[in-house]
Symmetry: C2
Subunit: 211 residues, 2 copies
């Protein structure tokens, strides 16, 4: 399987399909529903069913023509493709309220995102702990990333120091950044950045309030 | 325009198109690009271009056949349809780290989501302020919602009190809840709930780390 040749747009959609299946499994509907068709996934996700079949076909024969996909197997396979079947080592830069909240956020560990350290430049915070995670001096972030083999950096520092901290993460060897700061970074093209905008979470709601 | 007859799946996709246009406008590419075609939106969002044209056609004639949509006008219209062109009054239940972080989150105000109050049951927090927002006794949440005409409640309380607090929000008259607690509520069907899972934000990243 030549994974590199898969268009990024297909990867985005696989993420959408995976979320759709996870939701079905979480609400318990998965127990009755052993097989899911591309039409059912289309109904929930809004992606055209032919597109869904095409996207999944990149990764081999999942389902039976005309029948559908085995729900649990397909979900497991999507997890594997998306790299969600293993543990990833994370650091957080910024020990403010959001940094603290993310350290205590149960969902990360549950999904295999293990926080290894938190970094700040405030001397009154350095050396203390949030939960059982130490706050380190931001100056030591590069060495920590190398020594602990960190995969992903979460950036929750103020906007005016965000680029500088992102540069340090990349210098340490981080390949992917989850950024909560309201800035667009200038970074080498091979570094994957996902900018989080929490106000997006409201979008589905306001349409219905508006009716 | 009979808004109520629009399928919810179309609304979800409008949200996706809106995000796509916002991204283009934010990165400054919108300045050069006056017109965007359904094929270009398809390329970015992963939704089939015929589907995009069909979805947008629900709301009238936006573009010129064979030419595309005027980028800024389409974005303005999507904002309006999605209820994102006006201000919404918000409360936050839970004055923990995440509650504090959300009060200080710049993106909400920027997008018209105005936080009017924060609620907690901890006597040492009640009466204090986060930024310029007062922390009120959770017992007063129903009356506050009614008096201040609150539209949306954000729920960041621990899982074991989440259902109780959601019930209070609904009793006060709230129609939409943004829920960060790891629970699925039992609420009247007319109440719109969006469960936030921050670990989803990692999904686009781990595929590439996995290559």
């Amino acid at each position: 399987m030549k994974k590199k040749s898969i268009p990024s747009i297909t990867i985005n959609r696989l993420s959408i399909y995976h979320r759709c299946l996870e939701k079905i499994l979480e609400t318990g509907k998965g127990k009755e529903l052993e097989i899911i068709s591309s039409f059912e996934i289309a109904e929930i996700t809004g992606v055209n069913s032919a597109q869904i079949r095409k996207d999944l076909a990149y990764f081999g024969e999942f389902g039976k023509r005309g029948l559908g996909y085995p729900l649990i197997d397909l979900n497991r396979e999507l997890k594997k493709i998306l790299g969600l079947d293993k543990e990833w080592s994370i650091i957080i830069a910024g020990a403010g309220n959001l940094g603290k909240a993310l350290v205590n956020y149960k969902g990360f560990q549950k999904r295999g995102f293990i926080i290894k350290g938190i970094f700040d430049n405030n001397p009154s915070k350095i050396g203390k702990k949030i939960g059982h995670i130490f706050i380190h001096d931001i100056k030591k972030i590069e060495k920590f990333i190398q020594a602990e083999n960190i995969n992903i950096g979460i950036l929750v520092v103020p906007a005016d120091s965000a680029q500088e901290v992102a540069d340090k993460m990349v210098a340490g060897g981080i390949k992917a950044i989850l950024n909560f700061a309201p800035v667009h970074f200038i970074l080498p093209p091979e570094i994957k950045v996902h900018n989080v905008d929490l106000s997006i979470e409201f979008e589905g709601l306001t349409y219905y309030l508006n009716l």
